[in-house]
C-alpha cells in the first residue's frame, strides 16, 4: 500500500498539513490515535502571546525576529509567517470554520476563570476583547445550568467586574432534558449538555428562559455549550435573547474545539484524504536516511509506504513524546529529542511556574527534517506540538506553531 504522504496524528497540525496537501493533489493517509489538543481548545488560536523572557507581546508577527534561532518560527522566517498568516482565515473558512481577528495584533480572550489572556485569531462565536483595558458598562446577568459544576460563575463574576460591569445576578436555568442528565451527576459535562442543546426544542427553550430572566441587563454570560452540530445556533440565540451575549468557556472538553476538529476532519475526507480514526502507528522503517514505511494496529502486517511522512503526534499528553526516569523518547521513529541530562531541571515543583519539560521536543533542521542517531531523515517532517525549540504553553504559541509548521511542511513537500 502506497501513498504520496502519510501523516501521523489527527490534531490541528496534521489536519492543516493534510488538507493543504490533499487539495494540492497529493494522496494522503492520516492515522489518528486518541485525543488531541483541540479537545481542550479555548476556541482561539495563539500565535505569540509572550516572549520567552516573559514580556507580553501585542503585535505577534512583528515580534518574531526577537525569538531564538531554534524556535520553529525562526526556521520558517518572518516573511513566510506573514504569508501563511494572511492565508489562515480563508483556509479555515473553506473548511466551514469562521475566524475573526486582525492578524497583526493580539486580542484578549476570557478564560473560564474570568481572566484575560492574549490570543491571535478566534472562532466567530468566542468572546474576545480588543485590549486588556476594555471596559464594559452596565449590568450583567450570568446564567448557568443548575448542577453544572464545570462553569465557575463566581470566578467569572469577579473577573468581569474588574472590567467595570456590575454583575447583578447569577441565575440557574432548569430544562427537563438537562435535568435528566443530572440523574447521573458525572454526566453533567460540557459535551453531554451540548448534545442535549443541539436539539432545536432545547436551545429555543433555553433562549426563552434566559429572556424571561433578564431584567434589563445589558449583558448576559452563558456557557459555551451551544452549536456543537451547527454553530448557527449561537447566532439564533443572539437574535432571541435581548442582551449582548458573552459565551464563556467551560472546563474541558471544549465544545467549539471538538466542532473544529470534526469540521477539519470532514474537509480532509471530502478532499479525498483517507483518515484512519482510532488507529495507531506502532512501528516504522527508516533506512539510508529516509523513512520507508509504517505499520498500524488495525492494518497489521501491511507495510504502508509513502514518499513523504509527516509526524504530528503531539506532545507528552498525546503520547507523541514519552519519558522514562532517565530519558525522553519519540516512540514512532525513535528520533533525537532535545532535553537536559539533569532530570531535576525538567520541572519546577511550583505547578504554575514555567515548566521546562513543556519545551522538550524533537530536534529538526531548518526544513523540519528530524535526526535519527544524529543523521537527518530527508523525507520526514516534524510539525506541531511534537517540535522542540519553544515552550508553547508559556508563550501562548501552540496553535500558531501547529498551523505555521503545517503550512511550511506542506509547501516544502509540494515543491519537491
Amino acid at each position: 500500500m502506497r501513498y504520496d504522504v502519510i501523516l501521523i496524528g489527527g490534531g490541528l497540525s496534521s489536519l492543516v498539513c493534510g488538507i493543504t496537501l490533499q487539495k494540492a493533489g497529493k494522496r494522503c493517509l492520516m492515522v489518528s490515535a486518541g485525543q488531541n489538543a483541540l479537545h481542550f481548545s479555548s476556541g482561539t488560536f495563539g500565535l505569540l502571546g509572550k516572549l520567552p523572557n516573559g514580556k507580553e507581546v501585542s503585535e505577534p508577527i512583528a515580534a518574531i525576529h526577537k525569538l531564538g534561532a531554534s524556535h520553529p518560527y525562526s526556521k520558517i522566517g518572518g516573511g513566510k509567517i506573514m504569508e501563511y498568516a494572511k492565508a489562515t482565515p480563508q483556509f479555515f473558512a473553506d473548511c466551514g470554520i469562521e475566524l475573526k481577528g486582525n492578524r497583526n495584533s493580539n486580542m484578549y480572550r476570557l478564560t473560564p476563570s474570568g481572566t484575560l489572556m492574549p490570543c491571535w485569531l478566534a472562532l466567530k462565536e468566542t468572546t474576545v476583547f480588543p485590549s486588556r483595558k476594555e471596559r464594559l458598562r452596565g449590568r450583567m446577568l450570568i446564567v448557568n445550568f443548575a448542577g453544572y459544576l464545570d462553569f465557575n460563575t463566581d470566578f467569572l463574576a469577579e473577573g468581569l467586574e474588574k472590567m467595570g460591569v456590575s454583575v447583578s445576578r447569577i441565575a440557574d436555568v432548569k430544562l427537563p432534558d438537562v435535568e435528566h442528565l443530572r440523574q447521573n451527576p458525572t454526566e453533567m459535562r460540557s459535551v453531554n449538555i451540548a448534545r442535549v442543546m443541539d436539539r432545536e426544542e432545547n436551545w429555543k427553550q433555553f433562549a426563552k428562559e434566559v429572556a424571561d430572566l433578564l431584567q434589563g441587563e445589558e449583558y448576559v454570560v452563558i456557557p459555551e455549550v451551544f452549536g456543537l452540530a451547527d454553530p448557527m445556533v449561537c447566532e439564533w440565540l443572539r437574535e432571541m435573547i435581548p442582551a449582548e451575549i458573552l459565551f464563556a468557556g467551560t472546563m474541558p472538553p471544549s465544545v467549539p474545539g471538538i466542532r473544529m476538529q470534526m469540521l477539519l476532519k470532514r474537509a480532509f475526507v471530502y478532499a479525498g484524504g483517507t483518515f484512519l480514526m482510532g488507529d495507531e502507528v506502532l512501528a516504522s522503517e527508516v533506512s539510508e536516511g529516509r523513512a520507508r514505511s509504517v505499520r498500524t494496529a488495525n492494518l497489521g502486517a501491511i507495510d504502508v509506504e509513502a514518499d513523504h511522512f509527516v509526524l504530528a503526534s503531539g506532545h507528552f499528553f498525546a503520547k507523541g513524546l514519552l519519558s522514562t526516569p532517565k530519558a525522553v523518547l519519540e516512540p514512532v521513529f525513535g528520533l533525537d529529542v532535545s532535553y537536559p541530562a539533569d532530570r531535576n531541571s525538567w520541572y519546577d515543583i511550583d505547578f504554575f511556574a514555567k515548566q521546562n519539560y513543556l519545551g522538550f521536543g524533537v530536534e529538526t533542521d531548518q526544513d523540519f527534517h528530524p535526526f535519527k542517531d544524529g543523521s537527518p531523515v530527508g523525507n520526514l517532517y516534524v510539525i506541531g506540538a511534537e517540535l522542540g525549540g519553544c515552550n508553547s504553553l508559556f508563550e501562548g504559541s501552540g496553535a500558531g506553531v501547529a498551523i505555521m509548521t503545517a503550512f511550511r511542511a506542506a509547501e516544502i513537500i509540494m515543491n519537491e
Partner: protein, 413 residues
C-alpha cells in the same frame, strides 16, 4: 498492594474525558440512554459493587462501537455495556426480539413461501399487525426474501467447478447473502474464481450479532461455538475464512471473545473480510485485476459502523479507487441508524431515522449513481431513506471487472 490494575475490559483506563459521548449516535436522540461513559466504565464501577446498579436502559445501546473508536484510552466501552447486559439482565427477551434476532430461522421459514411473505409483509394490514402485535414499526420497509438461496445456487451452479483452482478458501456468507442478497455471494464466487481462488462453503450458523443485541445469550453461545469449531476444521485444512459482511466479521473475531467469553485466539486472525483479502493478495503481487474499459460510476462510500471499528475501510477505498472511470467520495462517517434489528423496533424507529439523517442528507446532496457499503442492514436503511441504491463492494467489483481477462491474467504460467 494491587499489582495488576487493568481488568479484562480495562474500564480503569477511562480518564473521564467524555469524548465518547460526542460520537454516540443514541445520546442526542434518546434521553433515556445513560450515554457511553455512564453506561460503560462509570456504570461498571458501580455494578462491580452491586448488581442492583444495573440499568435497564443499557438496552438502548446499538453496539455501533463508535464510542470505542473515538475513545483516546482504548476503553472497550460497548463490550462493557453488552457484557453487563449478559451478566446482569435477567429479563427474558420478548417475542418480537426473538423473532428479529433469529435472522436465519426467519429466513428458513420465509423462503418456501417467499413471494407470499414478501407481498404480505409489505402490505398495510400485515404491517399494522406486526406493529400492534410485535412492536415492529409499520413504517419500516422489509428486505425481500429470495425463494432460492445462495447455497442452493452454489450447489447447483458453482460447486462442481471449484476443484480446478489451485488455491482454496472457505466463504462465510452470512444470513443476508443466503436469504435476501444471493447476488453478493454470486459476485464473491465470480471474483474469487477469476483471481484463481476456489470457494468452499462452511456449515455455518448465523454469527449471532442480532442475538447479542436482543439478549439471546445461550443461543448465541451455541452458534458461536459451532462456528468456531467449523473454522478450526477449515484452518486445519489450510483454508482462510473470508466473509463479505463487515458485521459478521467483527462479531466472530471480537465479540465472541470480548462479550461471550469464547476463546477464538487460534482462528481469529484467519477470519477476514473479502476487501482486505483481495487487497493483500494484490499488494503482494499474487493476483491481478483487469477492469472493463467502459465502466463509469460516481460512487459514495458509507463506512458502516463495524467497518469503522475493524479499521479496514481503507481496503475498500483502495479497491474501488483502482477502477478506472470511478469517482469515489467517502462520506463523513456516521451511523445510518439501523444498527441491525435496532431500527426495526417500534420504540426505536423515530430515533433510528433521526440518527441516520446526517448520512441521508450527505448522500442526497452528493447525488451519486449509487452508494457503496459492506453492510446489508445499512443497505436496507439507506435504500428506504434515500432515493439511491446501495451495493456491496464485491458486487461493484464483479460488475466493473473484465472477468474473462482477469481470469486469463491470473492463469498460472
Amino acid at each position: 498492594m494491587q499489582q495488576r490494575n487493568i481488568s479484562f475490559n480495562n474500564f480503569e483506563q477511562c480518564i473521564k474525558c467524555t469524548i465518547c459521548t460526542v460520537y454516540c449516535p443514541v445520546v442526542s436522540v434518546n434521553p433515556a440512554f445513560p450515554g457511553p461513559k455512564q453506561a460503560g466504565p462509570d456504570g461498571e464501577r458501580l455494578r462491580l459493587k452491586n448488581k442492583f446498579f444495573f440499568d435497564e436502559n443499557l438496552k438502548f445501546c446499538m453496539n455501533c462501537k463508535r464510542c470505542e473508536v473515538a475513545c483516546p484510552s482504548g476503553v472497550k466501552i460497548a463490550d462493557l455495556i453488552h457484557s453487563a447486559r449478559r451478566n446482569y439482565d435477567k429479563q427474558f427477551p420478548e417475542l418480537r426480539d426473538v423473532v428479529l434476532a433469529n435472522t436465519d430461522l426467519m429466513g428458513k421459514f420465509a423462503r418456501p413461501v417467499a413471494p407470499l411473505v414478501n407481498s404480505l409483509i409489505s402490505t398495510k394490514p400485515a404491517k399494522v399487525v406486526m406493529d400492534v402485535m410485535l412492536d415492529i414499526d409499520r413504517n419500516r420497509a422489509f428486505p425481500k426474501y429470495q425463494s432460492r438461496g445462495f447455497r442452493g445456487w452454489f450447489k447447483k451452479e458453482a460447486r462442481a467447478a471449484q476443484d480446478c483452482y489451485r488455491n482454496q478458501l472457505a466463504y462465510f456468507h452470512g444470513c443476508s447473502t443466503e436469504y435476501q442478497h444471493p447476488e453478493v455471494g454470486k459476485a464473491f464466487v465470480q471474483v474469487m474464481n477469476a483471481v484463481g481462488w476456489g470457494v468452499r462453503l462452511l456449515k455455518e450458523k448465523c454469527c449471532g450479532v442480532a442475538m447479542i443485541s436482543n439478549g439471546l445469550w445461550s443461543q448465541v453461545a451455541r452458534n458461536a461455538n459451532h462456528n468456531i469449531a467449523e473454522f478450526r476444521k477449515a484452518v486445519s485444512r489450510g483454508l482462510p475464512i473470508v466473509a463479505t459482511a463487515s458485521t459478521c466479521t467483527l462479531t466472530m473475531r471480537d465479540e465472541y471473545p470480548h462479550i461471550l467469553g469464547i476463546d477464538n485466539a487460534d482462528v481469529r486472525d484467519h477470519i477476514t473480510l473479502v476487501e482486505k483479502f483481495l487487497f493483500e493478495k494484490l499488494d503482494a503481487g499474487e493476483i491481478r485485476l483487469v477492469f472493463k474499459n467502459d465502466y463509469r460510476a460516481r460512487i459514495v462510500y458509507h463506512i458502516p459502523c463495524h467497518m469503522e471499528k475493524l479499521g479496514w475501510s481503507i481496503f475498500t477505498e483502495e479497491l474501488i479507487r483502482m477502477i478506472p472511470g470511478v469517482s469515489l467520495t467517502v462520506l463523513d462517517s456516521g451511523c445510518c441508524g439501523i444498527a441491525g434489528t435496532y431500527g426495526f423496533k417500534k420504540e426505536n424507529y423515530a430515533s433510528s431515522q433521526a440518527i441516520g439523517k446526517s448520512v441521508f442528507d450527505q448522500i442526497n446532496a452528493l447525488s451519486p449513481d449509487f452508494v457503496c457499503c459492506e453492510c446489508e442492514t445499512c443497505k436496507w436503511q439507506i435504500e428506504m431513506s434515500t432515493a439511491y441504491k446501495v451495493f456491496n463492494p464485491i458486487v461493484i467489483l464483479a460488475e466493473a471487472l473484465d472477468l474473462e481477462a482477469t481470469a486469463a491474467a491470473n492463469q498460472p504460467r
